[in-house]
């Protein structure tokens, strides 16, 4: 049996209200330490996004894409999953990497594409990949990750691992072929996968009514025969609880869940666009009042876990951490030129071995190997 919450626009799972009060019936009951960890990761993510966007403006990195305003969409789920559940992410969940404690200096290194970068200078900024955390490389073509996540989940089930895969897509991405292919495959296969649509209102300059004629995105879950929930994406307790519940269903063998996180992209799509050219400022202002970080802060204060002094200290700490990561990376050399020829295949084929030799000889070095 699958159920759907959110068939119409008024239907939204909210636990933490913008004023910081909690719905006692739905409260996921997180302890203070857990709440603080989530809060700190959200603040660190926002500070990191701001710093790296500035770095792009200064010409230090070529591209950046922020998640400002959407931090609860990645951090609630990261907290709800186990550390070895698989992530097959989109590009707008840097918070998940922060929450999983990938060192900031490695995230920054990836944006620089330098010798510390574990993707070895080969991927666009924010296209992170971390094997150790089971976080698969972000795919640029929109939608492809959804069906891949269903495949990862199929493997977990087949191997008898009580693990799930989580994947993300934007509102625009729901129009892609592979969103459909992935949702359908996952549901037919009862794969332990959680598909999250971050509905942030816009796909670059295209608003949601130009992507779908459905009243809500979660309606799509009904047609696939999947459980679906429409969730307040700026409410970290709601995103946490929705994913925790979805995970429990998945490991019980009840199949995938589709979650629509209703949120808003407060910044531009990426460093390449100016949102003022295509959307009204007033819309943005209205959403600023629902800021996910602000909400959690009010809650923590009411619970006696937070105050102005702690806030000041945290901001200081987060800025210091990202500044240190940036400063350290400024001194890191570029990847070796010849490293470009490696890892195309696990084994170096003859033509690439020859290219590598040529490069080495041009630099007066010995022959391969």
């Amino acid at each position: 049996m699958t159920t759907t919450v959110g068939l119409d626009k008024d239907d939204l799972l909210t636990i933490l209200a913008p004023d910081g009060t909690v719905d006692p019936e739905l409260d996921p009951g997180l302890d203070g330490a857990q709440c603080l960890r989530m809060y700190e990761a959200m603040v660190q993510t926002r500070v990191m996004d701001e710093r790296l966007m500035n770095l792009q403006r200064q010409g230090r990195i070529f591209f950046y894409l922020a998640s400002t305003g959407q931090e609860a969409c990645s951090i609630g789920p990261a907290a709800a999953l186990t550390p070895d559940d698989w992530w097959v992410p989109g590009y707008r969940q840097p918070g998940a990497f922060v929450y999983r404690e990938v060192p900031l200096k490695l995230l920054v290194a990836q944006c620089y594409g330098n010798a510390w970068d574990v993707t070895k200078g080969r991927q666009m900024p924010v296209h992170y990949a971390f094997r150790e955390q089971n976080m698969v490389s972000i795919s640029s073509p929109i939608g492809t990750q959804v069906i891949q996540a269903a495949g990862v989940a199929m493997a977990m089930k087949r191997r008898g691992h009580a693990k799930v895969a989580i994947t993300y897509i934007g509102d625009g991405g729901t129009s892609s072929n592979d969103f459909h292919a992935g949702m359908n495959f996952a549901a037919v296969d009862k794969a332990p996968v959680i598909v999250i649509c971050e509905n942030n209102g816009w796909a670059i300059s295209v608003p949601t009514p130009r992507q779908t004629a459905s009243e809500t995105f979660v309606q799509k879950a009904v047609a696939y025969g999947m459980t679906g929930v429409r969730v307040d994406g700026n409410d970290v307790f709601a995103t946490y609880k929705a994913v925790r519940d979805a995970r429990e269903r998945a490991v019980r063998g009840e199949g995938p869940t589709f979650l629509e996180f209703v949120t808003y992209r407060l910044a531009g799509h990426s460093s390449s666009d100016d949102p003022k050219r295509y959307r009204p400022e007033a819309e943005c202002e209205a959403w600023r009042a629902k800021d996910p970080i602000e909400r959690l802060r009010l809650y923590l204060e009411a619970r006696g876990l937070w105050d102005a002094a702690r806030e000041e200290a945290l901001l200081e700490r987060c800025r210091k951490a990202i500044n240190e990561a940036v400063n350290d990376n400024e001194r890191v050399p570029r990847p070796e030129l010849i490293s470009m020829f490696e890892d195309v295949w696990a084994e170096l084929p003859p033509d690439l071995a020859a290219a590598l030799d040529e490069e080495r000889q041009a630099r007066g070095e010995g022959r391969f190997p």
Partner: protein, 325 residues
Amino acid sequence: MREVTYREAVREAMREAMRADERVLLLGEDVGRYGGAFGVSKGLLEEFGEERVRDTPLSESGFVGAGIGAALGGLRPIVEVMTVNFSLLALDQIVNTAALLRHMSGDQFGVPLVLRMTTGAGRQLAAQHSHSLEGWYAHVPGLRVLAPATIEDARGMLAPALADPDPVVLFEHAGLYNLKGPLPEAPAPVDIARAAVRRPGRDVTLVTYGGSLGKALEAAAALAELGVDAEVIDLRVLRPLDDATLLASVARTHRAVIVDEGWRTGSLAGEVAARLGEQAFYDLDAPIERVCSAEVPIPYARHLELAALPRVEGIVAAALRTLGR
């Protein structure tokens, strides 16, 4: 020795792989109950069950993408795509993820996936079922592309393909499934790095692969009648190409004819010709010849289809031209 068909050889290879390794599973359209569009997987569902022989929903990008995910998650999927023509619906998954992931992730994630698909014409299935697009796949770094043209290769290429940590695309020419031939009870492993000399000869090298191997051998027999001793090379591996075998042959014969069922423009035949031009220019005594499909969508009517494909007479004529005859 026993007589088996190419189809049975592929099936036997899959059965052996699935018996040997629990991680191997088969995904695709109609691969289970129906036994595959070309009957290759008949009997596998009965032996291995629905968990391992999976009839997937009808979406090429879907089951190829799921295969990629399953490979990432530690399985060794074999994905069957009915024909290369339909694989275009999965091109993004194959080219933008499977082929690139190892490099893009800095060697953190590889995609050990085997994709099997039919290719080629000759069965009056018209343009949207009959094209030979393997050259496109051979264009892409990160893929290994194989074209078994013989019973032994049909039987022997799957195991090394599954052992490969990277994605391998196997092209089975649809005209070969009923090919019959001897196979040892316990076939020897085959090498998936090298081209094979299928017929030694001194006068001219016929370079081919897959469904055109039979035509090249027939042409060589016809040339022998005319006193021309042709060598026939089966590329077997379309990526990475085995230049060494090609160059050694042309160094002996000084002449080359390339036979490729793909279209001539931007083709694998063009790539082979370019390599010979670059690396064997001073060995060549005549311009390189290419025998390819006509640059038209493959038609349905029998006589039109045959006219569009490489023919034995065309290969013979091209070989004679390289000899000034």
